[in-house]
């Protein structure tokens, strides 16, 4: 037997759990203003997330998937992408979306059961949340194909969870992207759990990044709690894609500190000790310590930031709660570009029997 192929998967970390640099800082991380921008974004996501969970608990929001613990992965990616790129999220990546211009009101509107939340004022080109698992990876590959055909220097980025890597669509997307050298980046946010199923039951593979190998594309692992490493690795992958050198698969290792959604109770299937251990590695601690050590942050600034975030979130909540229920015509309005004659009768029935617009 001779070896005809072999592979290795590299792992990237820049900031250790205590905020210590374990590798040379990239350019952006040497710019205090830029680091503060990311830290502020991460903090806003966390404050927003807690409020959204609270809204659900008090009956003011539908089932909601918390992003607690994912802030570095989501913000690092948001910082690495360009405005003209396209994001294909799963359903948890609020940090990236907020950085790209999606508003908290829009996020709450969607999770409050109203499609208007998907009509982002900015960015118009991004995909909305994808609830079916892994299908969004093919949308990103298709968008990347459009950029290639139309000769636009843009990239698509698709998120996927660790559980999603078991789906056929994920492999198909990697395969297509590799075979056509598409300008797309796939990021697996490996948070350890697909609802109640741990990664070890999804696959025998040592890493999820190595799923890239069979598709003939690079796969790399990154500390998903380290916003510097995420931004660096994703930024490099996007630039590779942008210059026509093909796709990359990135596995960001993090932990889902929350339940899967507000409809879930993770205490049924994982130990409190595991969650406690994960909290020691969570992403905000290390960047805050980094900023404190660098002398550009202090307790008063932290307090002011938390208050500022709370005000922004409250304003969004007020706006969200003040929206009237959509009229029944909304079910018909965007079904097609123009409503087929056949459906007009049903629109009238809906109007006749539908709840009044003022009924929340």
């Amino acid at each position: 037997m001779t070896t005809v192929a072999e592979f290795k998967i590299q792992y990237r970390q820049i900031l250790g759990p205590q905020g210590e640099a374990v590798a040379p800082l990239p350019q952006f991380a040497q710019d205090a203003a830029e680091v503060l921008r990311m830290y502020r974004a991460m903090t806003l996501v966390r404050v927003f997330d807690a409020k959204a969970v609270n809204l659900q608990r008090t009956g003011q929001l539908g089932t909601y998937p918390s992003s607690l613990g994912h802030e570095a992965a989501h913000v690092g990616i948001g910082a690495a992408m360009r405005p003209e790129d396209v994001l294909a999220p799963v359903y948890r990546e609020f940090g990236t979306q907020l950085m790209r211009g999606v508003t908290m009101t829009e996020i709450l509107t969607y999770w409050g059961g109203d499609e208007r939340g998907n009509d982002f004022a900015v960015p118009r080109q991004d995909f909305a949340w994808c609830v079916p698992i892994a299908t969004q990876t093919l949308h990103a590959a298709g968008a990347a194909m459009a950029f290639k055909v139309l000769k636009q220097p843009r990239c698509a980025l698709a998120y996927i969870g660790d559980g999603g890597t078991s789906e056929g669509a994920f492999y198909e997307a990697l395969n297509l992207a590799g075979a056509r050298a598409l300008p797309v980046v796939f990021v697996i946010v490996n948070n350890g759990w697909a609802i109640s199923v741990p990664v070890a039951l999804q696959t025998a593979a040592r890493t999820l990044a190595q799923k890239a190998v069979a598709a003939g594309i690079p796969g790399v692992q990154v500390d998903g709690n380290d916003v510097f490493a995420v931004r660096e690795v994703v930024g490099a992958a996007l630039e590779t894609a942008r210059r026509g050198a093909g796709p990359t698969l990135i596995e960001a290792l993090t932990y889902r500190l929350s339940d899967h959604t507000t409809a879930d109770d993770a205490s049924r299937y994982r130990s409190g000790q595991e969650v406690k251990d994960a909290w020691a590695l969570e992403p905000l601690i290390r960047i805050r310590k980094f900023l404190l050590t660098a002398g550009v942050w202090d307790a008063a600034m932290e307090q002011a930031l938390l208050e500022e975030c709370a005000l922004k979130v409250d304003a969004a909540v007020t706006e969200y709660l003040g929206q009237a229920k959509p009229p029944t015509d909304a079910m018909f309005e965007h079904l097609f570009a123009a409503l087929p004659a056949r459906l007009r009768e049903q629109r009238l029935i809906a109007r006749k029997y539908g709840a009044k617009a003022s009924d929340h």
Partner: protein, 313 residues
């Protein structure tokens, strides 16, 4: 031919699928396109139907108009997740911000001695999906005009191409860029005694049957449904008001077939125009058999004649 016209006139139209490039499609529907328009606009995809549908969603939401080919309707099903969960609802769930001007073409039905899984007609699965159109032409000229309309339509269209027409019917088609309307039936033949609604290749058997019925003094009006969803029920109701009898003919299995929807609509809106119970002539509620029995599965002209005559009992 419709592909070529539209690609010539709309630079955003791209053709994708398995073997659509150098090979020109297994039924030759895309022959010569790659030579004319290049490998970017006429692309062979990996052999994966979910890929074809899923990438179409991504391409269509970002500036292109993909015309995708699924090699046979029996191989469509891996793509259904993308069609049901994304393509059909993209416009609705984004309130019109993103949309999917996609055409998915696929061979439909049996009768050409093909292997297993190559002769299905499962349009009813597609017709149940809100937000997409399902179109099935009944002749080469209609295929040309309806395909142009489908490509130009701003929403997803499932375009079912009856395989018997690829083989059985030769027709000079004028390549004039003239689209036919979607969402309307075509009256293939006027008549006064009975309305026969059908589509796709079943128009061939139906026209043979009504020619025979003519000799027996029964004048049948034949309506080609053409757009299977949404159904143009008004044309059918007008015809039934005139004839007082309705026979529906389709190759697909009868159970929850498109014929059931037509029968229900006529019962709801035109019951008092009917002088006889509605008759359905359809494929059996069995698995489409291998080719030795396929012509016993596909409704014959005789079955159609007998069903029409039952409405005069």
């Amino acid at each position: 031919m419709a592909h070529g016209w539209e690609m010539q006139h709309d630079a955003n139209v791209v053709v994708i699928g398995q073997d659509v490039g150098v090979n020109g499609g297994v039924f030759r529907a895309t022959a010569g396109l790659q030579e004319r328009f290049g490998k970017e606009r006429v692309q062979d995809t990996p052999l994966a139907e979910a890929t074809i549908a899923g990438m179409s969603v991504g391409m269509a939401t970002h500036g292109l108009k993909p015309v995708a080919e699924i090699q046979f309707m029996g191989f469509l099903y891996p793509a259904l997740d993308q069609i049901v969960n994304h393509m059909s609802r993209m416009r609705n769930r984004t309130r019109g911000r993103l949309s999917c001007p996609v055409v998915i073409r696929m061979p439909h039905g049996g009768g050409i001695h093909a292997p297993e899984h190559h002769s299905e007609s499962t349009e009813t699965m597609l017709c149940h999906i809100p937000g997409i159109r399902v179109v099935c032409p009944s002749s080469p000229q209609r295929a040309y005009g309806l395909l142009l309309a489908a490509i130009r339509d701003p929403d997803p269209v499932m375009f079912l191409e009856p395989v018997r027409l690829y083989r059985a019917m030769r027709q000079d088609v004028s390549d004039d860029g003239q689209a036919l309307p979607l969402d309307v039936c075509f009256t293939l033949r006027e008549g006064s005694d009975v309305t026969v609604v059908t589509w796709g290749a079943m128009t061939l058997e139906t026209l043979r049957a009504v020619a025979e019925l003519d000799k027996r003094g029964i004048s049948a009006e034949v309506i080609d449904l053409a757009t299977l969803s949404p159904i143009d029920i008004d044309t059918i109701l007008e015809s039934v008001a005139k004839t007082g009898r309705l026979v529906i003919v389709h190759e697909a299995a009868r159970n929850v077939g498109v014929g059931a929807e037509i029968a229900a609509l006529v019962a709801e809106h035109g019951l008092f125009d009917l002088q006889a119970p509605i008759q359905r002539v359809a494929g059996f509620d069995t698995i489409m058999p291998l080719f030795k029995l396929e012509h016993d599965y596909i409704p014959s002209a005789q079955r159609i004649i007998d069903a029409v005559e039952r409405t005069f009992d």
